[in-house]
């Protein structure tokens, strides 16, 4: 990674941020080996980041959480966009400071700095670049799974003084923009799962009527909740079986855990519910300390809501000007 040629375009990482990784859609059909799909946590913001730069939708991006990286650019001019509810600034070579707006394409020149300060009341944001990030793929994907140490950069998050090497295609892109505000999250919709009836009547009611607090134990692997212990009246352990993204497991302490992108592929705790696909982005953006409320929908509704989610995303892509 450090073998840059003088002609290369690259970012120098002056501050890495809290959890900055390379991502794309992830790797499929490897669950049986113990390798989850991984990939971006917020699909819509990922799609928008690549769409704003007219890139292939599966192009590699830089995903950051809470505080993002501070990057110094070296090379010929490039274009970048940041998506998510993100506060950032661009410090030009002549010290001029541009307060960044997400969903707006910016020109970046030699020695400019991009300072991604924070995500607002959300977790993840994305940085996409019109040039390709030069990375090795693992099982067809650049997605970094830090727990399994799979992916480029030795499967690790980015760290200070590393370099991010870019291609040299020099394709200019228009300074496109989109007016988009990430909506406030009121509830997370779920389908009752295979072990829903393991829980007491009171706990089943509480699951939908009460709020759960999101604890600090939150990462790309999962989200632990607390506040209303769910009482299992059948069996605290099931024979270990497959897990998928969105499963809400309840271990014997009664506190639910939501499986996210880098989840373990097999688990032995009862499954009370599954987050619907249309709400994956929302749940991923919820922050520690926030409260989550679940709402039950059936399969038919979930399928319709996913179609609606896709239509909304496409409409946003079409509104890019």
């Amino acid at each position: 990674m450090n073998m840059t040629k003088s002609s290369d375009n690259y970012f120098e990482i002056e501050r890495a941020g809290i959890n900055t990784t390379y991502q794309d859609y992830g790797r499929k059909n490897l669950n049986h080996l113990g390798i989850p799909i991984s990939g971006i946590m917020d699909k819509r913001n990922y799609i928008l980041s690549n769409s704003l730069l007219k890139k292939d939708l599966n192009s590699s991006v830089i995903e950051f959480a809470y505080q993002g990286p501070l990057l110094k650019y070296h090379g010929e001019k490039i274009f970048i966009v940041i998506t998510g509810d993100v506060q950032f600034k661009i410090v030009k070579m002549n010290k001029k400071i541009i307060i960044g707006k997400p969903y707006n394409v910016y020109l970046i020149e030699n020695k400019d700095k991009i300072d991604i300060q924070s995500t607002n009341k959300s977790v993840y944001g994305y940085l996409s670049i019109n040039e390709d990030i030069i990375l090795d793929k693992f099982w067809g994907s650049v997605s970094v799974n830090t727990k399994a140490k799979i992916g480029p950069n030795n499967g690790q998050k980015l760290s200070v003084n590393q370099k991010i090497i870019l291609s040299h295609k020099n394709n200019p892109v228009p300074l496109a923009k989109l007016n988009y505000v990430n909506s406030k999250i009121e509830y997370i919709r779920v389908i009752k799962s295979t072990n829903f009836d393991f829980f007491s009547e009171k706990s089943k009611k509480n699951f939908f009527n009460k709020e759960f607090k999101i604890t600090k134990l939150l990462d790309r692997m999962g989200m632990r909740l607390e506040g209303n212990r769910l009482e299992n009246i059948v069996n605290n352990n099931i024979k270990s079986e497959g897990l998928v993204k969105g499963v809400v497991q309840v271990p014997s302490d009664g506190n639910p855990i939501i499986m996210l992108a880098d989840h373990g592929t097999i688990g032995g705790y009862p499954k009370i519910a599954n987050v619907i696909s249309a709400d994956f982005d929302k749940v991923a953006q919820m922050t520690p300390g926030a409260y989550i409320k679940f709402k039950a929908v059936n399969l038919n509704d979930a399928e319709k809501l996913f179609k609606f989610y896709n239509i909304e995303t496409n409409n946003l892509v079409n509104q890019i000007s």
Binding site: N31, L33, W139, T194, G242, I266, V275
Partner: protein, 223 residues
């Protein structure tokens, strides 16, 4: 063979082969897994076999639960898609710092650790499934005298290579990870090799495993 088919959320099919864990049921799970995998149906994003369940996940942009359910119900199981069975020898050292839970096991199973190892190394094990973390094999069945519960509070870090016991199963931690199994020893060999993209696993479902006891010196040499 499949007792019940349910939806797991909106983008997975949950195939229930029963509640028991035995090789016959597991063979059926693996048969479905291999056939579905071989036939590469459109939109399927993961097929996850376990002891007695099979979860088939799909891309909701491409297909739906009812369509994938039909595929599974109408699947013709081709016998020629056989499970490749290998016997794999895995060396383990059960000395010094590797036998993390030996005193706990001695207490809860009321057996001397030496005796426990004698029984453990005498048996051959069947790989029911792999997963949780990349490449971890779930092997069974262990002798009835060796069946202990998980730790009450899982360890935050179990060392790479650790061999653990829980209930009728043993496993191998392919890399450092959280875990709650009772650790009896450690293998110096690589069970999961990410450099081998086409065949990263040393032990696959259906394989048999024979453990071989080695000394610390032998362990250091292999490592």
């Amino acid at each position: 063979m499949i007792k019940n088919i349910l939806n797991l959320g909106d983008s997975s099919v949950y195939c229930d082969f029963g509640v028991e864990v035995n090789r016959e049921i597991n063979n059926n799970v693996i048969k479905y897994f291999k056939n579905l995998k071989e036939k590469k149906f459109d939109g399927i994003t993961n097929i996850t076999p376990s002891y007695n369940k099979l979860i088939v996940s799909f891309d909701l942009e491409v297909t739906t639960y009812s369509k994938v359910k039909k595929i599974i119900e109408n699947l013709e199981l081709e016998e020629k898609i056989e499970i490749e069975k290998k016997i794999i020898e895995i060396p383990i050292c059960c000395e010094n710092n590797f036998k993390i839970d030996y005193d706990r096991l001695e207490k809860i199973l009321n057996i001397k650790f030496e005796k426990l190892l004698e029984i453990f190394f005498n048996d051959e094990y069947f790989c029911y499934m792999t997963g949780f973390i990349a490449g971890m094999p779930f092997l069974g069945d262990t002798n009835k005298k060796l069946r202990a519960k998980r730790l009450d509070t899982p360890r935050v870090k179990v060392p790479k290579g650790s061999v653990g016991l829980t209930e009728q199963f043993c496993n191998i931690y392919t890399y450092e990870s959280p875990g709650g199994w009772n650790i009896i020893g450690n293998t110096p060999i690589k069970i999961f090799n990410k450099a081998e993209e086409n065949n990263p696993l040393l032990i696959n479902p259906g394989d048999k495993v024979k453990f071989k006891r080695i000394t610390q010196d032998e362990y250091d040499k292999i490592k």
